[in-house]
Symmetry: C2
Subunit: 224 residues, 2 copies
DNA sequence: TGCGGTACTGACTGGTCAGTCATTATATTA
DNA sequence: TAATATAATGACTGACCAGTCAGTACCGCA
């Protein structure tokens, strides 16, 4: 009997953490597995059984930490999306670069990377299945969309206040800055297989045209 | 016995068309019902039983005209989307207006209307569930997206050839012209409930900024 | 007036999957 | 080392739905 126990402990001893630690890391492991599955099969197309399998866990365990499938999905969104957006928002608020330089540099780099990252598929998921889960959509709207747009608005306002940009209705529609990012994400998800799209150049073109359109006259030193 | 028959005929006589006609109109009726259901519940969320009920038809009948659910969805896309796009494509190709006028006029009106129309929900459907049905996506890509982008490209090229626009990389990325349309459709579908977006003005702003960015120098008569 | 064909019906099948729960394994505590 | 608590399991349930098919009703025709 004692022998059987020790035999069983073999597994547990192989670097497997203590119980308490285990309980604390399990949710993250499940969220990570769920992210992969959701990204690959969409929300409706993902079976919790597969999530469990990927996390090397039994079918029932996810329900111990997440009451429902939706709850798990929310956890994925929170853990994957929020940090990246907080990062760029912080940069926008604290940068000392001239606005045009900031947009052509760090901002462009951020959206170029975003479009190609695994995080982008979450946006596609929200777009596709959001309307079935109002609670989820509201969370996403309040935490990402609303705050993001507000930040962009203040970025433009700052450019105008500094005399870098002429005042345009763009400040009322910061969605116009983001729209090509969305389009790129969707293209990559849906049509890349049929026709390649150079999203880096697309976004660069977008940013340049937009700046051409709003740059204050007499500030054209950068043009050539 | 003869009486029973006549009694049954009562129903049939009430303006219900003859058999042959009936058979020819049924598919359209089913497609119309399916459009409503798909628009309301998404592809996966739509039960063919409900489509049938809405069309006042038994559960089995749709399968007589459409082999599978996907086939029915394709029919919906074809009947709802294609005509509108063919119309604007024709206009683009045959218009005699100066390119800028055309874009600010008929083209702007078209996208403003499109965003608000019931057709837009189909785009949202494709976006959300397209990746699960490659066949469907391919059909959509070939019939709508690919041809649409080509038409836009030739519109820009024409403007450049006429000296109205300066040459810009925009011609390589006609997606940039459409991106705000996409964004508007998605906003209306997802967030309108939380925050209203004036898509008419958004699209007008977009078109104006874009034209400001690509207008050939010396053609600024329209500016003020 | 009845016959043949076909438009149409709706109960049924097979398969899927979210969520449950009785049971088992194992860490911790005494 | 035994008792206790709780992490984890996985067979199972209930609900759902695409797609089928044996049968019915009804039209047009002779």
């Amino acid at each position: 009997m004692a022998e059987t126990k020790t035999a069983q402990r073999k597994k547990a001893a192989q670097g497997i953490a203590k119980r308490r630690e285990r309980r604390d890391t399990r949710p993250q492991e499940i969220v990570a597995a769920a992210f992969e599955e959701f990204a690959q099969h969409g929300y409706a197309g993902t079976r919790l059984e597969d999530v469990a399998a990927r996390a090397k866990v039994s079918k029932g365990l996810p329900y111990l930490y997440f009451k429902t499938k939706v709850e798990l999905f929310k956890a994925v969104v929170k853990s994957v999306i929020t940090p990246a957006f907080d990062a760029i928002r912080g940069q926008i608020e604290t940068t000392t670069l001239p606005t045009e330089e900031f947009i052509k540099g760090p901002f462009l780099a951020f959206i170029q990377e975003l479009v190609k990252s695994r995080r982008a598929v979450i946006a596609r998921l929200l777009i596709g299945e959001g309307h079935k889960h109002p609670e989820l959509t509201q969370f996403y709207f309040e935490h990402i969309v609303s705050r993001g747009l507000q930040t962009l608005q203040s970025l433009i306002d700052r450019g105008v206040a500094r005399g870098e940009f002429r005042p345009t209705p763009l400040r009322d529609f910061p969605q116009l800055i983001i729209a090509p990012v969305l389009a790129s994400i969707l293209w990559r998800g849906l049509f890349e297989h049929y026709r390649h799209l150079d999203t880096d150049r697309l976004l660069e073109t977008h940013v340049n045209l937009l700046l051409d359109a709003i740059r204050a006259p007499g500030t054209k030193e950068g043009e050539r």
